[in-house]
Symmetry: C2
Subunit: 251 residues, 2 copies
Amino acid sequence: MASPDTRIVDLKKLQLACEECSLHELCLPLELQHEDIEELDRIIHKRRPLHRGDYLFRMGDPFRALFAVRSGSIKTYTNTDEGEEQVTGFHLPGELVGLDAITEGCHPCAARALETTSVCEIPFERLEEISTHIPGLQRQLLRLMSREILTEQDTMIWLGKKSAEARLAALLLRFSDNYRRRHFSPTEFNLSMSRTDIASYLGLAVETVSRLFTRFQHEGLLEVERKHVRLRDLEGLRRIAGVESCLHNHC
Amino acid sequence: MASPDTRIVDLKKLQLACEECSLHELCLPLELQHEDIEELDRIIHKRRPLHRGDYLFRMGDPFRALFAVRSGSIKTYTNTDEGEEQVTGFHLPGELVGLDAITEGCHPCAARALETTSVCEIPFERLEEISTHIPGLQRQLLRLMSREILTEQDTMIWLGKKSAEARLAALLLRFSDNYRRRHFSPTEFNLSMSRTDIASYLGLAVETVSRLFTRFQHEGLLEVERKHVRLRDLEGLRRIAGVESCLHNHC
DNA sequence: CGTCGCTTTGAGCCATATCAATACGCGTGG
DNA sequence: CCACGCGTATTGATATGGCTCAAAGCGACG
């Protein structure tokens, strides 16, 4: 058993780590007792940062751990029938990667860093073990997965229905919100992914994405210079994106 | 404690119920011990059948239970900004409904029966309770949710990328597979949903869906008469749908 | 037998894909 | 330090798939 003093010290270190990680409201269930948080922290492995292009895992790799993005960004993708990359998601700080691998026991998609990126590795077996005696953790896990399902459903809807401009606007706003939550500028940031990646993710042609950026710029919605964007009219973008995330608003 | 005899009887009843329900490989983890299965069965509530148009739950209803479709079919939907229905999913026997409600604690979409439909109701609180002392159950729950995420991702991809004909073909094949698994004819069945529902779900115009059916028929891929379809060329449909479910094939 | 809702069919148009060419930025080697 | 070359991004011209609007067909049900 830890003495009160060391417990305080440990907790401080932990708090800092997870503040920094900006996952504190997400991956750390606030209801958990101190001992439980410590136990959780003990199994989480902080990896050395990935560099641009590094694989977090490859398609078909055995599933051993979930990953929480702490900083940077990750893209996940599969291959289409014709062998091209099909981007299935962009994962920003505070988001989990690998939830889709639990069922089959291996990763159905590959994950690569889009820039210098650090992640927490959460060994799944051990997470399952400790969650059997920490009810709050189990519940939190289910909630996280449910949230993921909700998000995917949401995405599905706008991919199915919305116009190209709505899709791009929605994506930019998603980035913006993530930055805001992490106390970075919600209006000025760099896109870590290529136009091709964006196009693939949004189900559009690269040319369309490019044209949209130029058009948005002409319309005064944003300024864009290669990877760097500055959103000048969030309200306008929201209007274009449609009252996004319809699913969340009715509860 | 039950005597050996009654246990056997109970199990038989249960097996039958779940054979019929065709969820045995899905919602009943095979690794579970008999006692565990019995405990699970005890909390599952078999409702009286719903009729066409009946609500299973409405948007915003508090989340109390997951539902497993035993027979019939359910559609889930939200409302778009303009107040029209946006179908988010069709749920066939063996599939779960409500997984997206766990996070928020209330249903982000409504669910209605498309035909006479029976479901099992699985009170979530109690499921969580018993899964704390049945590790296999917990794991199975996570797997189920992971599978759901995978499926949604899959759907997302073809909604984003694929042509109208590929979407419709993929949907028909999904129905076909479900019927095959349940030992019904995989080539001849009734569509329980309207053309409008199909269109909404696939992100297409009703007219397009209608035209596609006629075209498929002319091309000898299927025969269609109102709700009744007969798939005549599964291979052809698969070709059109694209090697669907790319995500599952790489593990 | 008429009405109503759902489905099909037709005609024209628009958004986005496709094809093709050019521009830009960045790293490399001379 | 410059010139080259390659990958990425932009821009233009054209084609087309799917949407929209409009109307007619068909079934179910009172």
